[in-house]
């Protein structure tokens, strides 16, 4: 007996270690002094501070709570009524068919529930011709829908347990049916209602999948925000938030557990009454706050600007930087007051996406209502051709003059009328870990001879990261093979696909912004990525280096530009112009350029002394002087890219700043590069081919061992054999007595 308890205890302890290991990690790293989520560098509370200054996260938290409260309340009301109705139903067929339909959202996989509702909204929205049909309303409907079965299933048993003569007794004593429901039946089923409410609230709070497919613009819940973060890098302030949530729930549960056992018995009736009142008031207060929030947000004059941008693509006020969106709010509120003498409340609703395709999917699926989007070149072409963008009124954007001449007529927007204002541009380069790279290859990079082929090098099997989006991934192969990325034939696509299939066994994983963690943490050796992000990573790990892939001495890689646009469905067009204008101002543009490290097309930035100092323009001369090397002469029209020392490594000073200089190769070719290597929007046919080839590549699984199938099959066969064995034994046993009478 004793031995078994010890074994059981050990087993349970192990199980809990398993369950709590990731949570321990999360709590530990919420106290990390650096922003790494894999290397603990020192204890600090700074992420907790960051959390409370992170408006977007707090906003998302507020949204999540609002959604959870509203949806659980609605579901509880409808669900309780439904349970009452179902309970009273006499027709068994009707009852059971309603119950089966009710249970569908519980049994169906979340993803199917999500997409089925999305299809409904898209279809109905399409028929109604409505511009924005995905939004708070749709996600609320979705949440109520999946909450309903849980409420009904927790209330219904209470009705069944209830003494049938209770309502009869009440009516016998003079209650109307309605009165008897509220006075007698409701109190009897209240525990079920409350537990249904709590369950619905919890489910709604935690839901990601269904929200993901039904959520619209300008409304971001916490899980959605975390999702877009995990595509890039989860900042430890998310860990801090999770830690706070975890601890508060733990405390709540412990309190309720401790009080329920001992003191509830001892608690006097008065105390019980008080608890009831407290709980009741708490719910009431939450409800009232919700109502007030709704009224306030509807009542005062608020201008909301929905900005949809890439993740970590704006200076957000973290670590002492300027919070550009808040600055804009203040700027415009003051401007409006000066011009009209009235107060206005401006609120920038900032949400993020991880790829052009995500953005396009959102716009296409009907999540319009965005006022500002910042897509890349080829996506702009496509959006323009589909009339999803509107032209800019340059009169309203005086700062447009800040954009350097050469960037005012990009290939995607070279007409008389302007649809875009360039935000940043950059190239795709290859980032590597110098500690893990073979010396020969390092030498090749230094000599400026390295190209794309390193990404196909057998030596780095399992150490290579590849883009997790079709355009960029195929791009790498096509640049490597010398195929024109914009005029590829079916044959070319096939060749590129073959090449990528060849690479697949070498690839550690297909990533987008997860690359930050993987490269900085030393998980991978080589990856192609956007230059600005590469600089960012190098800043966090000195072992990393960066080069432009060359072919026959010439840089052959993608160059891209991201530009601010106003979708044709925008609701605040004037404010959107103001926003673009503000973003082009020196203050905002410098802050952004310093924060995101991408090259800026903005004169005001390049000429800004602070920017030049921060980007190390002057220190280059000083540092290189010590080495006795000549310093390149810098012009106003410089393109800034990282400086490499004689070892081919980035020069970084003690503060972690790195030096960027003018690159003659790039500068000379900038125009050409845009013309040759920038992605153009593909014809529908090519796009279909690309998507299809990408699908084939993704689902192709050379790297996947067959062993697991065999293992699976063995278990399955064993289970079936066991079942058959049981069946046979049962038959054998029954043979003797099964035909006896009765």
């Amino acid at each position: 007996m004793k031995k078994r308890t010890i074994f059981g205890n050990i087993y349970i302890i192990l199980a809990f270690i398993f369950l709590y290991m990731p949570i321990a990690v999360l709590i530990l790293f919420s106290f990390n002094s650096s922003n790494s989520t894999s290397n603990f560098e020192g204890f600090s509370f700074k992420w907790y501070g960051e959390l409370f200054s992170d408006a977007a996260t707090l906003d998302a938290l507020k949204n999540t709570l609002l959604l959870a409260i509203l949806s659980s309340l609605i579901a509880t009301v409808i669900g309780t009524m439904a349970a009452y109705g179902i309970h009273k139903m006499r027709n068994k067929h009707l009852k059971s068919s309603i119950m089966s339909v009710t249970k569908i959202p519980m049994i169906n996989p979340e993803i199917v529930v999500g997409i089925s509702m999305m299809l409904l909204f898209v279809f109905v929205g399409g028929i109604l011709g409505s511009k924005s049909y995905l939004g708070f309303g749709t996600v609320l409907i979705a949440h109520v829908t999946f909450n309903l079965p849980y409420v009904i299933l927790s209330v219904l048993p209470k009705f069944k347990q209830m003494d049938k003569s209770l309502p009869e007794a009440a009516q016998d004593l003079g209650c109307t049916p309605l009165q008897s429901f509220f006075k007698v039946e409701l109190p009897a089923i209240l525990p079920g209602v409350v537990s249904g409410l709590i369950m619905a609230f919890t489910l709604s709070l935690d839901d990601f999948v269904i929200s993901y497919f039904t959520i619209g613009s300008g409304f971001e819940t916490l899980p959605i925000r975390i999702y877009s973060m995990t595509k890039k890098r989860v900042t430890p302030d998310m860990y801090a938030l999770s830690t706070l949530i975890f601890v508060s729930i733990l405390v709540l549960l412990l309190l309720s557990n401790l009080t329920s056992d001992k003191s509830r018995e001892k608690m006097s009736k008065k105390a019980k009454k008080i608890t009831k009142i407290v709980v009741g008031t708490a719910f009431g207060v939450i409800g009232i706050i919700t109502v007030i929030v709704l009224i306030v947000s509807a009542g005062t004059k608020t201008l909301t600007l929905n900005v949809y941008n890439w993740g970590e693509y704006i200076s957000d006020g973290g670590e002492g930087t300027l919070d550009v969106n808040r600055a804009f709010e203040e700027y415009y509120e003051e401007k409006y007051f000066l011009e009209t003498g009235e107060r206005v409340n401006v609120s920038v609703n900032y949400t993020t996406y991880a790829s052009n395709e995500d953005l396009y999917a959102k716009l296409k699926s009907g999540a319009t209502g965005y006022d500002i989007i910042i897509p890349s070149d080829y996506m702009i072409q496509r959006l323009k051709s589909e009339n999803l963008l509107q032209k800019l009124d340059l009169n309203k954007i005086p700062n447009y003059a800040n954009i350097k001449e050469q960037f005012r007529n990009p290939f995607y927007d070279n007409g008389e009328e302007k649809y875009t204002a360039m935000y940043t541009y950059g190239v795709i380069g290859i980032i590597y870990n110098s500690k893990k790279l073979h010396p020969d290859d390092l030498a090749k990079i230094e000599a400026g001879e390295a190209g794309w082929e390193l990404l196909w090098d057998e030596k780095y099997k399992g150490q290579i990261l590849q883009f997790n989006n079709p355009r960029d991934a195929f791009g790498t192969a096509m640049y490597a093979l010398g195929i024109d990325v914009n005029n590829a034939t079916e044959e070319d696509w096939k060749k590129a696909q073959e090449y990528l299939k060849e690479q697949k066994p070498l690839v550690q994983s297909y990533v987008m912004d997860e690359i930050f963690n993987k490269m900085e943490g030393g998980e991978a050796t080589l990856a192609a990525y956007y230059a600005g992000d590469c600089l960012c990573m190098i800043g966090n790990n000195e072992d990393l280096g960066f080069y432009y892939p060359r072919k026959n001495g010439e840089v052959v890689t993608n160059i891209f530009a991201d530009a601010m646009c106003i979708p044709s469905s925008a609701e605040n067009v004037d404010l959107a112009h103001e926003y673009i204008n503000f973003m082009l101002s020196e203050e905002a543009a410098v802050a952004n350029a310093e924060y995101i490290y991408y090259a800026s097309p903005n004169k005001a930035v390049i000429e800004n002394e602070g920017y030049q100092i921060n980007m190390g323009k002057y220190e280059i001369e000083y540092k290189l002087d010590e080495n006795g090397e000549e310093v390149p002469k810098l012009d106003e029209d410089d393109c800034y890219i990282p400086v490499l020392d004689e070892n081919g490594e980035m020069i970084i000073d003690e503060e972690g700043d790195y030096f960027v200089i003018y690159d003659d190769v790039l500068e000379d070719n900038l125009e050409d590069m845009f013309n040759t290597y920038a992605y153009r929007d593909l014809e529908d046919e090519s796009r279909a081919t690309l998507n299809q080839k990408w699908e084939e590549l993704k689902v192709d699984s050379q790297s996947f061992g067959g062993g697991i199938y065999i293992f699976c099959a063995v278990i399955l066969v064993a289970l079936i054999a066991f079942g058959v064995y049981c069946y046979i034994i049962k038959r054998k046993r029954r043979r003797l007595y099964w035909n006896t009478q009765k």
Binding site: K732, R733, R734, R735, L736, Y737, W738, T740, K742
Partner: protein, 373 residues
């Protein structure tokens, strides 16, 4: 008893969380005996049974089975089977499989299993019920299945833990007879736990009355009824009037202010004793002829007799009589010497104020509160 001892409990004690459940018990069970452990709930009777079955390990003392100490032998290795209070039939098995359960554990051929199960079914009158779902059987039928299941392995001892508690009165009477018959037929030792004294008296060869973790008395039903050893036994078994008295001399007891002749001796002079008089042994006589007199406070018709409550010297006597008397009527009572039973005083003396009878209902109420804990 000439049969040899099959189970001996030697100085067995058990306590839970400092609460003494069994207080150093000694008990011998003989072969082919129908022994009943009788007592109110919480007296330790069920614990005693569970110690024999092997579900509970005693803190001290030995359990001896056929001369071998079996303290450390787990339940599943003991040649003892149990019929549980609420039958504990396996809900996932049908009647046949429930009964065959024990046989299936060993490699026994299907034919033999079939024969033995059928034999058992015949014994408990359940032939033809083989493939019934046990959950759909009536209480009595479930009871029979439980008995058959416990007996199929031909245990040396069958333990029955209040097996009839959940049945209604009529069914209980039938089952009592049936159990007695089965015991006689099979010759298996039965140890039967109950709090129903009537059941105990009508079925058992030996009754063990327990209270507060101690054995109060062991004896045949008639001994227990007629010669209770102390006030507790007297009170628990049947209805009784227990009165404080003094033993003036051998065969001479004084109580209620009157000196009575009795058949008991061997007490010290003037020793304080408990006197038991069974209600049916009291005769109602006119006041002037009575040894004692009192006023009738209530009369209840009980079918066979009247139950008369008489206040005598502020002690309410219960009298069962076929003669009707009026309430508030003054009557006298007459007691034959052989109706007076003298007991030594014990810790239970004085606990039973007026006439007393152990209440089944109260016992069941306390059962419920115990289960809730």
């Amino acid at each position: 008893m000439n049969e040899k001892k099959i189970i001996e409990l030697k100085n067995v004690a058990k306590s839970y969380d400092g609460e003494v459940i069994l207080d150093h018990i000694n008990l011998d069970v003989h072969e082919k005996e129908f022994m009943t452990l009788l007592g109110p709930s919480g007296c330790g009777k069920t614990t005693t049974l569970r110690i024999i079955a092997g579900f509970v390990t005693p803190d001290t003392g030995d359990v001896v089975f056929e001369g071998v100490k079996i303290n450390d032998i787990p339940a599943y290795k003991r040649h003892v089977n149990t019929v549980f209070q609420k039958y504990a039939l396996f809900p996932h098995l049908n009647v046949y499989e429930n009964i065959a359960f024990a046989l299936r554990l060993n490699k026994i051929s299907e034919e033999e299993i079939y024969n033995r199960v059928e034999e058992m079914l015949a014994m408990v009158n359940l032939k033809g019920f083989e493939k019934r779902d046990v959950n759909l059987l009536s209480g009595g039928q479930q009871q029979r299945v439980a008995i058959a299941r416990a007996l199929i392995n031909k245990p040396k001892v069958l333990l029955l833990d209040e097996p009839l508690g959940a049945l209604d009165l009529k069914l209980r009477k039938d089952m009592q007879n049936e159990l007695k018959n089965i015991q006689r037929k099979t010759g298996i030792t039965f140890i039967y736990v109950t709090h129903d004294q009537e059941e105990a008296l009508s079925m058992s060869d030996t009754v063990v009355v327990m209270a507060d973790g101690k054995i109060q008395q062991i004896g045949t039903p008639t001994d227990i009824y007629n010669e209770p050893e102390n006030a507790f036994v007297a009170d628990f078994i049947g209805e009784s009037n227990i009165i404080d008295g003094v033993m003036l001399d051998d065969y001479k007891a004084k109580f209620s202010g009157h000196i009575f002749e009795c058949l008991d001796k061997g007490f010290e002079k003037n020793e304080r004793v408990d006197v038991v008089v069974r209600p049916e042994d009291v005769d109602v006589v006119p006041p002037e002829k009575g040894m004692l007199t009192g006023v009738v406070t209530s009369v209840t018709f009980k079918g066979v007799h009247y139950e008369i409550i008489v206040n005598i010297n502020n002690f309410k006597w219960m009298i069962q009589s076929t003669d009707y008397v009026e309430p508030n009527q003054k009557i006298g009572i007459y007691i034959e010497p052989d109706a007076i039973h003298i007991m030594k005083r014990s810790e239970y003396s004085g606990q039973f104020g007026d006439y007393s009878s152990f209440s089944d209902e109260l016992d069941r109420l306390s059962d419920i509160s115990e289960e809730e804990e």
